[in-house]
């Protein structure tokens, strides 16, 4: 093979260093699973931090739902006895609203195809998305809980760390299924409207345990009383994080 004529590369180094640059890339071991997860999560968080689109839409929606509850709940009912329920209903509806958006980002310039071209483990893509979605959802929840406490005068008497544990564990499982089905829904004709239909039956355990635990903590029962619910939520999370990661490759395949 004869050497090519002088390259017309604008201002870059010589051919030799170009070769070196290439060999560099070829010989590199490639990104680790964790590095890929972080790359995806970071990218999503960067996009969200910049546009704040999901935070704003989910947050606004949640506050409006709280207002609707205020109007809808009979004055004879003590809001304190349904605080846990109201909060989790709102979280679920706001969450399913935001889930679809995360995948819509990928479809804009078909970025998803570019990502899938890379030697990325689909599980890493899933977990990266999951992490980012978790962060966004937790941020919205950090708004929802205080707003409800304010609107309904719910003096929270229980253990805050226990409440945090409930919220994190419940959200993890919710977001795991939400990310999986969000991806699926993005590739159907019905799109985002499909997400709540698919998710809500599957999330029954999350609703049941999370709202019960939240309610107990709200009225001041000790953290030990919610231990069994925390365990169930944790089991749910483990099972579905694993399953969804494993199934994700099948979703992405064309």
């Amino acid at each position: 093979m004869t050497t090519a004529s002088e390259p017309r590369e604008p201002a870059i180094a010589s051919k030799a260093s170009a070769h070196a640059r290439d060999a560099d890339a070829w010989d590199a071991p490639g990104a680790s699973f964790v590095a890929q997860v972080w790359a995806v999560a970071r990218k999503d968080l960067l996009l969200e931090a910049r546009s704040r689109e999901r935070l704003v839409s989910m947050g606004t929606f949640a506050v409006l739902v709280a207002i609707v509850f205020a109007f809808a709940v009979d004055p004879a009912v003590r809001a304190r006895s349904i605080g846990g329920a109201m909060v989790w209903v709102t979280v679920l509806f706001a969450g399913t609203l935001g889930m679809g958006r995360s995948w819509a980002l990928e479809r804009e310039a078909e970025a998803l195809t570019g990502v899938l071209l890379a030697p990325i483990d689909p599980g890493a893509l899933f977990l990266g998305k999951w992490m980012a979605n978790m962060a966004v959802m937790l941020a919205v929840e950090a708004l929802i809980f205080p707003v409800f406490a304010l609107f309904f005068n719910l003096g929270f008497q229980g253990s805050i760390p226990a409440l945090a544990a409930v919220v994190v564990l419940a959200t993890a499982g919710f977001i795991a299924l939400g990310t999986l089905f969000g991806a699926i829904a993005a590739h159907t004709r019905l799109g985002d409207t499909l997400i709540p239909i698919l998710l809500l039956p599957l999330l029954a355990p999350v609703v049941i345990f999370a709202s019960a635990a939240t309610q107990r903590l709200l009225v001041g029962r000790p953290a030990g009383d919610v231990l069994s619910q925390l365990k169930m939520l944790g089991a749910f999370d483990l099972v579905f994080l694993f399953l969804c990661t494993a199934l994700f490759g099948a979703v992405m395949e064309e």
Binding site: I184, H187, P201, L202, A204, I208, F240, A250, E253
Partner: protein, 251 residues
């Protein structure tokens, strides 16, 4: 580069991934008919036993007999979903279209039986306790199962291309199956928190042997009916897939 000669229709659908072009459905049809006959016979026996052999339950009266339709339907509905789940997992792993055909056949029947459970439950409940609907754990679980089935079918039909739809539905089958035990536990816990637990014991206070026997026969009849119908449906699905491939003959 030589151009390929136009493949024959047999090659066409073999290439389109519909599975072995020689898999004969005659055997399936024979089994389906045999099971159908058995089912019919057993069903007649069951009907006889339900109306003439089993005693009238003391507290709930004649209406209690609906239980002999309710319980076997529930059993069948959940067994069907088990089949859906196993075949879905198999399909995702092996991509054999026959597994998908079994899954969709089981799902179609499963949703029918689930609907029967959801209709017979309230019918019985209204007459026995005056309430159309009670959040009894098993009934609640069945209600959620119904929605999971619906999700299965929506995904199958709504995907951009049919292959993807089958894969999405299979994912729903697997996720649903894994979730069902968790839902069951959670719903049971949920009802146990309820101040006045509603105990649905349609079989009545005593387990009279005649009742148990009738129930067993009814269970057998429903199971045979399910498998017979499922095999027919499976055969239909395989034929449909082949017909589709042949219709789009290569130019």
């Amino acid at each position: 580069m030589e151009t390929m000669t136009t493949p024959s229709p047999a090659t066409a659908y073999a290439h389109s991934g519909v599975g072995s072009s020689t898999d004969s459905l005659a055997g399936t049809r024979r089994w389906a008919m045999a099971l159908g006959v058995l089912a019919a016979v057993t069903m007649i026996a069951a009907l006889y036993m339900v109306f003439f052999y089993a005693p009238t339950e003391s507290t709930m009266g004649v209406v209690q007999r609906i239980f002999y339709m309710h319980v076997p339907s529930a059993w069948t509905a959940f067994m069907a979903f088990g089949i859906v789940a196993l075949c879905s997992a198999g399909y995702l792993w092996l991509r054999d279209p026959r597994l998908d055909a079994i899954a969709v056949s089981a799902a179609e029947l499963g949703v029918v039986f689930t609907t029967i459970v959801l209709l017979t439950g309230p019918l019985w409940g209204k007459i026995a306790w005056g309430a159309w609907w009670v959040w009894e754990p098993r009934l609640t679980l069945t209600l959620l199962l119904w929605f999971i089935y619906v999700g299965y079918f929506i995904l199958r039909g709504a995907a951009e291309n049919p292959e993807r739809g089958k894969r999405f539905a299979a994912i729903m089958g697997v996720v649903g199956a894994v979730d069902i035990p968790l839902i069951h536990l959670s719903v049971q816990w949920w009802r146990s928190q309820h101040p006045k637990p509603v105990v649905l014991r349609p079989e009545g206070a005593q387990a009279d042997p005649a009742i148990v026997q009738t129930l067993m026969v009814a269970l057998l009849a429903f199971t045979l009916l399910f498998f017979s119908l499922m095999l027919f449906r499976y055969g239909l699905e395989r034929l449909r897939t082949r017909a589709q491939a042949l219709r789009v003959a290569p130019r």
